[in-house]
């Protein structure tokens, strides 16, 4: 079996998966996709196994394939995939699961990494993730995201390794990106963390000014009421000092709010700048907790230049490779 026919088969399966938009197809073992594909696949290519079977099916003897079909039919009768819950999943044996699981419903391989890279960049741009994102094509294709306190490495088969908050933030992104129905966020041109010097201090100073005006008015009125209550014999009501104290408390609180905002702003910008500087420092020499596989080999690490033809070619290969590996 040549690579080209393998590739076209993969494309066919992908388009079959594409046509289904409901999330259950992306989220669970897609029984119906396997169903739809099996007749056509069987007609095209009798010795090959149908639908969900992938690269590793190449060397499986036909007898096995029939057994697999049998098992698949059995599983589809036993379980209702339109209403499939964790209990059903726990009941399933590994063989049953693999028989009906269709890797074509998930995006894997180079396409997954492309999607993950774009999504991570977009999330870094909106500051949901604090990390440097890199695509390393030398050796095994992978996406690496790291900060000064953690890292995550995304492999083409969708597995993620790493530690720290970066790992926690990257994991759901990978899960989302492997789903067909998920639309990626658009990453802006300059999707990176800001320069340490570009972090502006003292934003919102206008708001502080307004708050101070309000606070000053409250203070003046509070003091005035208190003085009037003491000085004017005609004003004997208890309401005056109570209102005065109320106004003074409010004014004091508002001044405190402004002082706290300014002080914490100063500390926080400094802290954020320090963190960005730390990130810049580890960009040059990688942090020691980053494993070997996350460090690019010198020459080939120039990641961004990929011509379109190469891209599509490798895309399909990567996918079938990953399918084989996940088995």
């Amino acid at each position: 079996m040549t690579e080209s026919s393998e590739g076209s088969d993969a494309t066919e399966r992908r388009s079959g998966a594409d046509s289904q938009d409901d999330p259950t197809a992306a989220g669970g073992p897609s029984a119906s996709t396997a169903d739809d594909d099996s007749p056509s696949d069987g007609a095209d290519d009798p010795p090959r196994t149908a639908g969900g079977e992938s690269a590793s099916g190449d060397d499986a003897p036909p007898a096995d394939a029939e057994g697999l079909d049998e098992l698949r039919r059995q599983v589809e009768e036993t379980y209702d995939f339109d209403d499939f819950g964790p209990e059903d999943m726990a009941e399933m044996s590994l063989e049953e699961w693999e028989a009906v699981f269709d890797p074509g419903t998930w995006i894997v391989g180079e396409e997954l990494l492309d999607r993950v890279e774009q999504e991570l960049n977009a999330r870094v741009a909106i500051r949901e993730i604090f990390a440097v994102v890199e695509r390393i094509r030398a050796g095994e294709d992978r996406v690496v995201a790291y900060s000064d306190e953690g890292y995550a490495i995304v492999h083409p088969d969708g597995s993620v390794e790493g530690e720290g908050t970066v790992l926690r933030d990257v994991k759901p992104t990978v899960a989302l990106c492997s789903m067909d129905s998920y639309e990626l966020m658009d990453a802006p041109e300059d999707a990176s963390l800001p320069e340490p010097e570009a972090v502006v201090e003292g934003s919102g100073e206008f708001g502080n000014l307004m708050l101070q005006i309000v606070a000053a008015a409250q203070m003046v009125v509070g003091l005035g009421l208190l003085v009037a209550w003491i000085a004017l014999p005609s004003l004997s009501t208890i309401v005056a000092p109570i209102a005065a104290i109320g106004f003074l408390v409010i004014g004091f609180f508002l001044f405190l709010v402004v002082a706290n905002a300014r002080l914490s702003d100063r500390f926080r910008t400094e802290e954020f700048r320090n963190r960005l500087r730390a990130l810049e420092a580890i960009r040059e020499d990688r942090p020691e907790f980053l494993p070997e596989s996350a460090v690019p080999d010198e020459a080939e690490s120039s990641s961004r230049q990929v011509d379109a033809a190469h891209d599509t070619d490798v895309g399909e290969d990567g996918e079938s490779d990953a399918d084989g590996a996940s088995r």
Binding site: E163, G204, M210, V214, G224, A240, A243, R275
Partner: protein, 128 residues
Amino acid sequence: MSSSGSTYGDIHRYEPARESTAAAIAIVLLTIIEVVFVFLFTYGLLSGWGLTDTGNMYLGAVLAVIFIDLAFILAMYRKEFLPDVVIVKKRRRKWEDLYIREEDADGVPFADGAWDHVKRAVYPYYKR
């Protein structure tokens, strides 16, 4: 899932305040209203408006306007005039953390002594 290592006080995001024009205009108007009504209330109280039925209601209404207006000023201030900061804090124990392991029954203190807690609450970068 908790992350390993001490990341206490780390800032994940620091975006400057938005300070949109609409918000600036709104907060100026609200401030003017606030100041006017505060002085109106004081003047009314000192000149004895509260001694008649209608005047009393009027003063009460003015006081209500003062507080509601102040609430909107603070909401506007928080939303538009404070930077957007995401900061790593110590995770407080929740009900679901209780009695997982016997030695964890009291949680992990992140400061020693009450005064140290106060210092850390005021300034998170104190002795990391």
